[in-house]
Symmetry: C2
Subunit: 408 residues, 2 copies
């Protein structure tokens, strides 16, 4: 038994959440969120590989290194607190301490995440006011989790939540999460912002291992624009309230946990890709039967990050030459005369390219398939048994519009 259930960060036992209109940058909408664990939660995270790291990323990495457990994650949208110098670091520390004070926990038990414009300083009064509002609004309903997911949106058009229920040593366990991200999405060992909570009992070491392995095939396999952000953060909290035997080594239970975690993160990742800035559809590339797993990932990502492929997908043009071209410059060696390329929607699947040449397909049928809300390109490498899937979106006029003048 392992299945999706409704909910997000409040799905698992002992987690509360809230949102607040703090007035950090946006007007008339929520812009701060809090995720709180009733008891100490073992925590782990992965963060951007960008050399330029936002203040909260630098601090979170340190807090997670120095502390086994945390109690809360506070997040804001509107301002990324990146490229803000030592003032930005100090403001970020204050953001954590305001929350710590309200919750009656230590400052180093509070993680922080920011998303929005780079280079602006966080305003302190709104942060302070927001902390009180967040504390007062805390609740464990699914609605509270949803409100938190909405508060961290920037150019996102839908909020992203996912939750899974499964069993570990006879106990019912849940993992739930939320994320945001629409532009500057090309995670590299992390995503934009993601918070996952679970009531599973698991050691910090195994939780860290689980999340690091998980992102390779979830958040690290999506891209909206190849721009790896300064703020990418995925944080996971595990409070053990499910009462399962603690997972402190590899084995069947750890694999079960990882599988459930993957269900949550892949669902969140797909939601982020499909809601890419200006996107009209989710564009997935599956590479199958490759000789090497990592090569399969590189090939799949090369296709979903190609501007030319993405523009053709937007225009419903079955320009398979661009897909083959993108496979070709992925830095993976293969024989172009020995691969098959298909496209499919939820109903039909057609062969576009085989034996190094165009297959005999109907352009009309191909255009119809490309008109779907979810389009999958499948590349059969015919050289092994490794598979990988990457998630992206189309490149549209609205992407240019949104990013031509994001700050105003």
């Amino acid at each position: 038994m392992m299945e999706y259930i409704n909910g997000g960060v409040t799905a698992a036992k002992g987690f509360k959440a809230s949102a607040a209109m703090a007035g950090i940058k946006y007007k008339g909408r929520t812009d701060m969120a809090l995720v709180y664990s009733e008891k100490d939660a073992v925590s782990a995270g992965t963060f951007t590989t960008n050399v330029v790291k936002a203040a909260p990323v630098k601090r979170d990495i340190k807090v997670l290194e120095e502390n086994e457990c945390v109690r809360a994650v506070v997040l804001n949208s509107g301002i990324a607190n990146a490229c803000t110098g030592s003032v930005g670091d100090a403001n970020n520390e204050l953001m954590a301490s305001y929350i710590a004070e309200c919750l009656g926990v230590k400052t180093d038990q509070v993680l922080t995440c920011s998303t929005g414009v780079i280079g602006y300083q966080l305003p302190l009064e709104p942060l302070k006011k927001g902390a009180v509002l967040l504390k007062d609004a805390l609740g464990d309903s699914l609605e509270k989790g949803h409100e938190a997911a909405c508060a961290i949106m920037t150019t996102d058009t839908i909020s992203k939540e996912a939750a899974v229920e499964f069993e570990l040593s006879g106990k019912k366990v849940r993992i739930g999460g939320m994320s945001k991200g629409s532009g500057m999405i090309h995670p590299d060992m992390a995503t934009m912002l993601g918070v996952v909570t679970t009531d599973a009992a698991i050691s910090k070491e195994m939780l860290t291992k689980a999340v690091r392995e998980d992102v390779i095939d979830s958040f690290n396999m999506i891209s909206v624009d190849r721009d790896t952000s300064t703020n990418d953060s995925l944080i996971i909290l595990a409070n053990g309230l499910a009462g399962n035997d603690i997972i402190d080594s590899e084995g069947e239970e750890f694999e079960t946990f990882k599988k459930a975690l993957s269900m949550v993160t892949v669902k969140l990742a797909k939601m982020m890709a499909g809601d890419g800035e200006g996107a009209t559809k989710l564009f997935t590339t599956k590479v199958i039967n490759a000789a090497d797993k990592n090569d399969a990932r590189k090939l799949a990502k090369s296709v979903i990050t190609s501007n030319l492929v993405k523009a053709a997908v937007f225009g419903c043009d079955a320009n398979w030459g661009r897909i083959v071209c993108a496979l070709g410059y992925s830095k993976v060696d293969f024989d172009p005369d020995n691969i098959d390329l298909y496209i499919e929607d939820d109903k039909n699947k057609i062969l576009l390219f085989t034996n190094g040449m165009a297959a005999d397909y109907s352009e009309e049928e191909a255009t119809r398939i490309l008109g779907a809300k979810e389009v999958i390109a499948t590349v059969d490498m015919k050289s092994g048994s490794e598979n990988a899937t990457a998630y992206g979106c189309d490149l549209t006029y609205d992407y240019v519009k949104i990013n031509g003048d994001y700050r105003s």
Copy 2:
């Protein structure tokens, strides 16, 4: 004395060119071009690193390996002859042999280049007819060179030619070239299509060395969309008619030749970047005072290939955070608190970012600068003395429009 002169592939002594309306795919415009050397020309080239190589690329590599000299390059637009299997290889061989027959030279003295849609087969009758027309139209005027440059355009809006005159061992020498390229531009050891001719006397070994070193800082430093094409080819022919002492080793004369070659290729490269599909402006990034030359190149290219930066440049939004972000994910390590970032047009230069934070600049002034036809971002790494420059363009609605339905 080393200066730009008018002209392109016919600028150097002993080179003729022509264009023809062969009707390969386009109607009512020229779509084949020929560059011919009156005597044997030492030849070299660099080609795409894409695993998927077009038929002409595969053949040219072989011809250049097996022959010291060639006599002609025939080019067509409309169809790329890539992903066309063994039929495509045979058609390409025929394209060379039709020209060889008309010119009375051997087939392996004729190089071929194709550009256009991937996956379509070249039609033989137009190729055959085109060969005769090209032969009959050959001439050594600048106009003939210009006609050839126009015939190889696809989505290009301007033709690209450049020529330089200089001296070697007391003799007047010229290097002239043409290129095309507007989309699927992210050359990797080559460009889309480029043909450079010179009357310099130079050995094949030194010519090969010159062109391989040259592209690193010319064609390989431009990008329109990060898509490395299947057809990238840069071919250089040297017929020795200038009468200079042959360059057959490194030294002052070789350096002079390389400097002149660079003037031609960098000018062509900049024209290609500025004429990127849908582009409204040339966007250049100069990285100065870096510790390592290759790092400087990586940093500069990371900025000009960022969709987010390119969209902001289109919108005249001085969103320097995206530039700093793109530097940060370039895989080059540096201290973000110790770099300076400027933008400039031909009149003004302003500091946007310093000491890890926004500088005190006027948004109005920044927006005005970004409105220019040529915008330069300069990044001072303050850690050494190596420089590199990369050339790109903005990302616009028209890029999406052009590529949403390129084939129809």
